[in-house]
């Protein structure tokens, strides 16, 4: 009876593991095969590295190396926005945790509400606002909204409110350090783990964001990779046999599309793997009140 239950538990877990892992495996293997082979050979077989190189040549040639531009744009948007997030959110969390000024609770509550609200709910309002200011189509109309990241403020707030002893900061003040020096010399170096965490969440959120750049950018050379992928999808016959002729011209078939998808997630996958441990610990050990 007990072994039966244990066996059933393993079977259920394994079945879900298959569901979660197989699509990823397929995506990794697909660019190793030619389009025809994807249909005829076993779905999880390996083709050859030569095919990967071939698929890359086709992808890279698409629209005058625009794939590289998209990846570069994504890096530019995500990294510059995350830099602004770190510069604004860490001090803000510190100020909210250890400060004492009128309106502190209002700022904190507003931050929390906007943080929990789905980001997509704000995209059209932001678009309408930027549109009235004639900022649509500018790179800043992506970077600046990305730079508002309330979750980062909340993470820093929780960290300073719970993990940094007030006495330590008071001691620094007694020793004559001003508010800025106390922050710079004591609070900031203590925030290293939280800086990593805020970097992770902000970078991933920006990299994966589709709706906002889709709404505010007009020129395809400004697209980040997420929007670029949708551009690529609509110009291939992979899912539309009706568009067969188009595919011949641009040489983008299923292996190229799979490779484009795979390369697009590599930066996030790297950040994911690097921060997996810290993330799981940080997400639960203090990010939220137990």
């Amino acid at each position: 009876m007990r072994t039966a239950a244990r066996g059933l538990r393993l079977v259920i877990l394994a079945a879900f593991a298959v569901f979660f892992v197989i699509p990823v495996l397929w995506l990794i293997l697909a660019p190793t095969k030619a389009d025809g082979a994807l249909v005829t050979s076993s779905p999880l077989s390996f083709g050859s590295f030569h095919q990967v190189a071939l698929a890359w040549d086709h992808l890279d040639a698409f629209s005058d190396h625009i794939y590289r531009t998209w990846i570069g744009n994504s890096l530019l948007y995500a990294l510059s926005a995350t830099a602004i997030v770190l510069a604004t959110a860490i001090p803000a969390g510190y100020g909210l945790a250890l400060g004492n000024f009128p309106g502190r609770r209002v700022v904190l509550t507003l931050t929390l509400v906007v943080m929990i609200m789905p980001a997509a709910a704000l995209v059209l309002p932001i678009f309408l606002e930027l549109n009235s200011l004639h900022l649509i189509g500018s790179v800043l109309s992506v970077i600046l909204p990305f730079s508002f990241f309330p979750f980062g403020v909340y993470l820093a707030y929780i960290y300073y409110a719970t993990a940094v002893p007030r006495d330590l900061l008071d001691a620094a003040r007694v020793d004559g350090a001003g508010e800025w020096l106390t922050f710079r010399r004591i609070a900031l170096p203590l925030a290293k783990p939280i800086i990593a965490l805020v970097f992770f969440f902000s970078f991933v959120a920006d990299w994966n964001n589709f709706f906002l750049p889709f709404a505010v950018l007009a020129d395809s050379s400004q697209y980040p990779i997420q929007v670029g992928l949708s551009d690529l999808l609509s110009s291939t016959p992979s899912f539309n046999p009706a568009q067969g002729g188009g595919g011949q011209q641009v040489n983008i078939f299923r292996p190229e599309l799979a490779l484009a998808t795979l390369l697009a997630v590599i930066p996030v996958a790297i950040v994911f793997l690097l921060s997996q441990r810290a993330l799981v610990r940080g997400m639960l050990g203090g990010a939220v009140k137990q």
Binding site: A5, L13, A17, F20, V21, P23, V24, W26, L27, L38, P43, L44, T88, P91, A92, Y94, G95, L98, G99, F101, P102, R104, R105, V106, L112, V113, M115, I116, M117, P118, A120, A121, L122, V123, L124, P125, I126, L144, F148, P150, G178, F183, N208, N209, F210, F211, F214, Q226, S230, S234, S238, N240, A242, T261, V265, F272, M283, L284, V288, K289
Partner: protein
């Protein structure tokens, strides 16, 4: 809200010693305020102002005249409005159902016997989270194409799907989108639930075991009620997120050559009203509908679940 701050200033005014101490430290601005100054413009310009501006647009016409609820009734009567909301409600319902049952179920299964296998499984479940956004949709478009899918046997013989267009038939879409959302997001929630289960004191479980409770009873009677708060949090948050669906139907629209309308979800409808018709007031009205859902959910979580800290 700011009463603690006020009372402390009053206290300082009443006690000259406190006042002198404050002056000695050179405190002219309230402590902490300068640190939030760089953040405030972002909160105002990209958090508060867009909401207020959308509200303003929703209650006025193109010339700025106040129109009351006309934009709301007008968009409600649009032939695409009700279907779009039906789609996202059905999608969100399916997604929430699978999320609650499987996330809680899997977290309890993983927590039953802490082992190395358990952390390996958590990692495998969590991994697809790296493929969010357009990438996850593209992957699933391939998975749903019987010609190349590793699950083509299932598609052909269990679901009777021979062609890709049959996979994305309109009736299937809420389920397809729910599956994509579950695939990318469930692992993260399983990790969260597992962490919540870890906070349950061992003595409690031990006591139940001594009283003769089996693992099944412990899971359902002891552990489940103790993580209720987290389940509520996941449910409300996912409900709000689900209603905002945009990228999945947008990409399927592109992949299906218009077979799936580009106004399948409410957010798409709002987008099209702004972009195709230039009707910003109508777009704002639909955006405000969605904003209200998101705001209500957020306020509910902040004020009711007690999961988020707002005081020291």
């Amino acid at each position: 809200m700011s009463s603690p701050a006020l009372t402390s200033t009053q206290a300082e005014a009443a006690h000259p010693r406190g006042l002198r101490a404050a002056r000695m430290r050179g405190r002219r601005v309230p402590r902490g305020l300068p640190f939030i100054v760089p953040y405030l413009p972002f909160l105002i310009v990209f958090g508060i102002a867009p909401m207020l501006y959308a509200l303003d647009l929703a209650f006025t016409n193109a010339n700025g005249g106040v129109t009351g609820f006309r934009n709301f009734t007008r968009t409600f009567e649009d032939y695409r409005f009700v279907p779009a909301f039906q789609h996202i409600i059905l999608y969100t319902g399916v997604w929430l159902g699978t999320l609650i049952v499987f996330v809680v179920g899997l977290a309890l299964l993983l927590h039953g016997r802490a082992s190395r296998a358990s952390s390996a499984f958590r990692f495998l479940f969590y991994m697809p989270g790296a493929l969010a956004g357009a990438a996850s949709v593209l992957v699933w478009l391939f998975m749903l194409d019987p010609a190349v899918s590793p699950a083509s046997f299932l598609l052909r013989h269990v679901f009777g799907v021979q062609l890709f267009v049959q996979s994305i038939a309109p009736g299937n879409l809420p389920f397809v989108f729910a599956m994509i959302a579950f695939w990318t997001g469930a692992g993260g929630w399983i990790v969260v639930m597992y962490g919540a289960l870890n906070t349950i004191p061992h003595e409690l479980e031990e006591a139940a075991r001594i009283d003769g409770a089996g693992p099944f009873t412990i899971a359902l009677r002891l552990k489940l009620p103790l993580i209720r708060k987290w389940i509520a949090y996941m449910t409300i948050l996912s409900f709000a997120t689900g209603t905002q669906l945009f990228i999945e139907p947008q990409l399927v629209n592109e992949a299906s050559l218009g077979l799936v309308p580009d106004t399948w979800s409410s957010n798409q409808l709002a987008y099209q009203l702004a972009f195709r018709y230039g009707d910003f007031n109508a777009a704002a009205a639909v955006a405000v509908d969605l904003l209200v859902i998101g705001l209500l959910a957020a306020v509910l979580i902040v004020t009711r679940t007690g999961l988020f800290r707002r005081e020291d």
